[in-house]
Subunit: 151 residues, 2 copies
DNA sequence: TTCGAAACGTTGGAACAACCAACGTTGGAA
DNA sequence: TTCCAACGTTGGTTGTTCCAACGTTTCGAA
């Protein structure tokens, strides 16, 4: 929807959920373009970054932390393991679990993708002052915090 | 990303694009649940609301205004016409076009869905004061305005 | 100690949004 | 007249988010 300028219906495009949706769509698009250079997608980045930041974890645990369904974690970890960015090993202490760890190459990739995300972030927030960026972050955090608590 | 200074939950959860994405996902889920009661989806609402607000239009025009691809407009209008909520008629002035108009039932449905959207909106923004809601709306509008102008 | 509930990884598939390519028809400008 | 653009339509693809079910493994309560 990024082609022609959509003449905005006054009622529709002033609703926060519409604005949120459009902003997120645009952000996701920018991110997706950035990730394409790494030949990876959002799920991979979330998992890789979480692993790099918080250390090894089971797949179910990763899913909970990243907000990704267990079944989707499987596929994404398959991809990452196939590239040698993470290692999947059975947990000797609990044979139901796999322990996922980043490799050195995985850590490098996580840093590289982090740089990409930083770039995209700067692009996305270009029209906002740093105070406004803080404001936006604060408001969205409050929103999510509230809705997370009642679930 | 802020891999240099990770915050309490994780560095991931403080990036605006992540917050935007999560907020929009939550909003979309609430909306989707609301729309389910009408047995319709987001595309249908956008089209119906735009028609009700701005009057009859061609399908291509609708697509541009709503930010929906031409091909998706076809399917959505098929659904709406099949329910008698809109009417599809050939434009005598330009035989390439169809003119889409809302029926009375369509206008009723648009109002009903509008009420649903209002309810969802209130639920979504519950944790924010009205000043903060304005702030959020303003920030997101600025964001979109900026990015729309350079495409 | 036994047994049922729960968690785990995995497979397969669904829904939805967004998008793209191509076709035949029609309109308008060069 | 010729050629390009716009239109509606068909038939896809991709990515994200879910859900249901399975066999295996663990753990808690009877």
């Amino acid at each position: 929807m990024d082609h022609a300028a959509p003449q905005s219906p006054a009622g529709l495009n002033t609703t926060p959920s519409w604005l949120l949706n459009q902003s997120a769509t645009h952000a996701a698009r920018l991110l997706s373009e950035g990730f394409a250079a790494h030949d990876l997608r959002g799920y991979h980045y979330r998992l890789l970054a979480t692993l790099a930041e918080e250390g090894p974890a089971s797949q179910a645990d990763l899913g909970r932390r990243c907000g990704i369904d267990r079944s989707d974690v499987v596929a994404a970890i398959n991809d990452l393991a196939g590239r040698g960015l993470v290692v999947r090993a059975p947990d000797p202490a609990d044979r139901r679990r796999n322990v996922i760890s980043v490799t050195d190459a995985g850590a490098d990739e996580a840093r590289a993708m982090g740089a990409t995300v930083d770039r995209v972030q700067a692009d996305l927030l270009a029209p906002l002052s740093s105070t406004e960026r803080e404001q936006l972050t604060r408001l969205l955090t409050r929103l999510l915090e509230h809705h997370r608590r009642r679930h």
